[in-house]
């Protein structure tokens, strides 16, 4: 792996009971400084679980493997070590701004909470909070700092959540479906804000989403997940034109195009994504795949292999793409 990776995952597996199935199975990838990576996949594919478990935010999860954040091992680390990293060096934005904020505290307190815990004086923290609100585009921040979350709209609340995540100047931001609860118009504003902040601060971003539109517009690289496995790792510019896995190809074909006016039916992927206790043997996508052969059903899920500009988890990649 390259030296200046700020985050390195090596064969991470997550399960929720000792003899249960691996919900996330043997995923590895590295994240460079300043890189924006998208993790895409359907619900239940393990996008969120993989990210939350490396931060130690899923206490009931059994995590195997190794995660190095700037050289510090995160898996199995004590809370005293994790607490110096979580929030300070890795920021987190959660999906739902309606539940991420404490309804009993005004937003000024919530933004400055982390700063004060870090040894900042009350006055300085307040000024800092106003600056942050200004930066994320909340109008008249010096008045609104005394307002409570219910006085803000969804988009504004998500901006406040972003301000909290940014308050400690993290090196890495993990955004877990940051715009799913928001409207299309607000979604664009929020995503542009996040992207701008990443570029200004030289921050890396992991964007977890199921929206391929967001991936295409805002990320450098995309990891496509299916049934707890990464099936493709490609630059975002490439995946939409030349996907390297039948699953990515299928998903892209599913989407109706805005400039498509022939009235045929959409191509679909038949069946449903599998549940963790019924993952098929071999390639996990083979029962739904149009290109599957007998070889696809053998052994475990095929590992990611380097191909052209990315990595693909399909054993027939060189024949098909």
């Amino acid at each position: 792996m390259i030296k200046n990776n700020i985050l390195n995952l090596e064969s991470i597996s997550v399960r929720f009971s000792p003899h249960g199935p691996d919900v996330v199975d043997d995923i590895s990838f590295g994240l460079e400084k300043g890189e924006i990576v998208g993790i895409a996949g359907e619900s239940g594919s393990g996008k969120t679980v993989s990210m939350l478990s490396i931060l130690g935010l899923l206490p009931q999860a059994i995590v195997k493997g190794s995660v190095k954040f700037n050289g510090t091992e995160l898996i199995g680390a004590k809370n005293s070590i994790l607490n110096k990293i979580r929030g300070k060096r890795i920021g987190l934005i959660l999906q739902n701004p309606f539940t991420a904020l404490d309804p009993m505290l005004n937003i000024g307190n919530q933004i400055s909470e982390g700063l004060i815990a870090d040894g900042c004086s009350m006055d300085k923290a307040k000024i800092q909070a106003i600056n942050l609100l200004n930066e994320v585009g909340v109008p008249s921040p010096s008045q609104r700092i005394r307002d409570y979350p219910h006085q803000f709209s969804g988009g504004m609340r998500q901006r406040i959540v972003i301000a909290i995540a940014l308050s400690q100047n993290p090196e890495l931001l993990i955004a877990d479906e940051p715009t799913t609860a928001l409207d299309v118009r607000i979604q664009k504003q929020v995503m542009e804000l996040i992207k701008r902040q990443c570029i200004n601060r030289g921050m890396s971003l992991i964007l977890i989403t199921h929206d391929l539109g967001l991936i295409s517009n805002y990320t450098d690289r995309v990891l496509m997940m299916y049934a707890g496995k990464i099936v493709e790792d490609s630059p975002s510019q490439k995946i939409f034109k030349d996907p390297l896995h039948p699953y990515s190809k299928g998903l892209l074909d599913c989407l109706p195009k805005l400039n498509d006016y022939n009235n045929d039916f959409l191509t679909t992927i038949s069946g449903n994504p599998p549940q963790p206790n019924e993952f098929p043997s071999g390639c996990r996508f083979h029962p739904r795949c149009n290109y599957s052969k007998i070889d696809c059903q053998k052994d475990g899920h095929p590992p990611l292999i380097k191909y052209k500009w990315g990595r693909s988890g399909c054993i027939r990649v060189s024949e098909l793409f």
Binding site: D183, V184, L212, G250, L255, K257, D260, T268, I269
Partner: protein
């Protein structure tokens, strides 16, 4: 082509319960016309009154003023009892298949419920065959008859919701964001199903969504709503290629992948 449903100057206000003097105007002067066999889309951001309009058109809530005309009959002033014969012909599918199905009823009972109430079948003994037939139309099988909603995934539940609506052989169906809660690969399956039903049964559909690419794919015409008003309407191809209102342009630019 015959007009199946139209609204004339439809208006709906909500009175805030704690401030009875303050009202919210959810639908203002709405004029919509849907022809037989047509698929019409309504787009707009949340809070623009799309869903309220759907509830008004199906008469699940009372309207303030204006008219709703269904197959040349004014249904806007009818009470619940008088409304009953029309309910069979106006069916609704809601956004969230996790909350729109009764968790304690089996699939066959869920589907048979409407058939019994509206007396669609002359011979009640044929019920099982009829239910199975409907279920197969939406792509489920006879194994599923005795299952409960919890045994199904989101996409399959939405199919059951569609089967429930189809079972009473409606003339007009309102789909209120039917694919928003579903996964990407499942969305396409449901959209194809709606399209198939429209082609085969000549069913008129009002399709509410905030996803413009889906609307563009499925619908013939589209209405754009903002703050309870229709600000733009026309053929999909015209609106999406050449939007006139700033708001429509904004909506279009925020939907990606074009």
């Amino acid at each position: 082509m015959k007009t199946i449903i139209e609204t004339n100057h439809l208006r709906k206000e909500f009175v805030l319960s704690y401030f009875p003097k303050r009202t919210i105007l959810a639908c203002d002067d709405i004029n919509i016309k849907i022809k037989e066999g047509e698929v019409v889309g309504i787009v707009g951001e949340s809070g623009s009154g799309k869903s309220t309009l759907a509830l008004c058109m199906s008469k699940l809530i009372q309207i303030e003023s204006g008219k709703i005309i269904f197959e040349n009959k004014d249904i806007s002033a009818l009470n619940n009892k008088q409304m009953r014969p029309f309910r069979k012909n106006i069916q609704l599918i809601f956004q969230d298949p996790y909350s729109s199905l009764n968790p304690r009823m089996k699939v066959k009972d869920l589907i048979a419920e409407g058939i019994k109430i509206h007396k669609v079948l002359d011979d009640i003994n044929k019920m099982d065959d009829y239910v199975l037939n409907v279920l197969e139309k939406v792509g489920l099988s006879s194994n599923d008859l005795n299952k409960f909603p919890k045994d199904f995934s989101g996409g399959q539940r939405q199919r059951i919701a569609i089967a429930r609506a189809l079972a009473v052989e409606p003339r007009f169906m309102i789909c209120d964001e039917p694919v928003s809660a579903l996964d990407m690969s499942i969305q396409a399956q449901i959209i194809n199903l709606l399209k198939k039903l429209n082609n085969e049964n000549n069913l008129s559909i009002l399709f509410i969504s905030h996803d413009l690419s889906v609307v563009n794919f499925l619908c013939d015409r589209v209405y754009v709503m903002q703050n309870g008003r229709i600000i733009e309407s026309g053929k999909c191809i015209e609106i999406f290629n050449n939007p006139k209102e700033l708001y429509t342009k904004e909506l279009l630019s925020s939907s990606y992948l074009n």
